[in-house]
Homo-oligomer: 229 residues x 2
């Protein structure tokens, strides 16, 4: 028992450096998602180690984690290569994403609290406002936050983790197409909130499915345009 009850979050947690492999992992993931390291790039352990100022071991461990999560391919006795997704794989990822998001919407309809719904509405307002200002960065961030919130309201941590991984991969593959679906997307978000508020699992699933399929269509049409170059 503590002698004094501390206010929640009062302790600054005093920034621990944390394991090196973690920081290396994050650094490499940033380099990959930002396309500084393009798909197919050969990643040499000693080079990365030198550039990051650490030994090879943390780099190895980070690379293996990246391999497990599908960011790099680890060919035996040859090294790590940034994964180059095929169109087929990208399509499969989108299918799975749709599936997971739709289920999250269903569970959110079943479990969401009214406080959670208010948070969704708040995010929606922010997103709509940013869309009006054509503030792309805020739109993208808020969109991610909205979907993340729906996932949180679903209350299924396993589902959330899978979805997070799949989402990040999808975003990576389609980042070259700087998509922007404007106001229509947020209108669909509003419909989703309505379905969740009504506790209508079927409708929530359907709305989310339609929504992510629209996003898919948007992605792929842009992808085709890019593909011509």
């Amino acid at each position: 028992m503590l002698s004094a009850e501390l206010p929640q979050g009062a302790v600054p947690k005093l920034e621990r450096p944390g394991p090196l492999r973690e920081r290396v992992y994050e650094a490499l993931l940033e380099l990959i998602t930002s396309r500084t390291l393009p798909p197919g790039q050969h990643l040499v352990e000693s080079e990365l180690a030198g550039q990051l100022g650490v030994s090879r071991q943390p780099v190895r461990e980070a690379l293996q984690r990246l391999s497990n999560e599908g960011w790099v391919d680890l060919r035996p006795a040859q090294g790590a290569f940034v994964h180059a997704p095929t169109d087929e794989e990208a399509d499969q990822l989108l299918t799975v994403r749709t599936l997971l998001e739709a289920e999250a919407a269903r569970l959110a309809a079943a479990n969401a609290t009214s406080a959670g719904i208010r948070e969704l509405e708040a995010l929606c307002a922010v997103g709509e406002e940013a869309a009006r200002r054509e503030d792309v960065e805020t739109v993208v961030d808020t969109n991610a936050a909205f979907h993340s919130k729906v996932m949180e309201l679903a209350g299924n941590a396993v589902l959330a983790e899978l979805a997070a991984r799949v989402d990040q991969r999808v975003r990576w593959y389609y980042t070259p197409v700087a998509r922007q679906r404007g106001a229509r997307s947020w209108q669909e978000h509003r419909e989703l909130i309505a379905a969740i508020t009504d506790r209508d699992e079927q409708r929530a699933t359907g709305v989310m499915r339609t929504h992510t399929e629209h996003t898919r269509a948007s992605y792929q049409s842009h992808s085709w345009e890019e593909g011509q170059g």
Copy 2:
């Protein structure tokens, strides 16, 4: 170009030992799923290294992969502990499993070839026969093969990989309850085959959903009995 066309599979692939971390990973996974290493067990790198006759490094790498896949918890500067799932987590895993299997059934209905359907029927026959003989091991293996085949026919590698991971975790958590749903389960498999043959995605989804939910109910009722001890 090769001077002589070799018959497919004629080359024995001359058993490569493969990376040590891989073999260590498989060994540890076997020890965990077989409950030789019980949940909560503290895994000490140097001990495992000694017992397996290798250095600490391959053990470390295997442990980190196991951590990424949810088999062990890796507490910083303290070591690895076999993951101890909560009832809530197990339930969430079952939910996700149902979702993934149902989608696989839908895709299989959309994409299965008639050859694939015949393979499903063959597996079904084997399973039914084993069920009659009350050959539990064969029943379990064939059941896994059946679901794996459905997943293969779905033709979505991303989905298949996620499902494989989730399935293995589910089986691990519920292995203490040696379940056995007998003939009823195979009847449901037959219904699934019929739906796939008819290319009826809706029905295939529904049948698989019902099927896995039955399995869930079976699991949980046994789990409750166990829980009394």
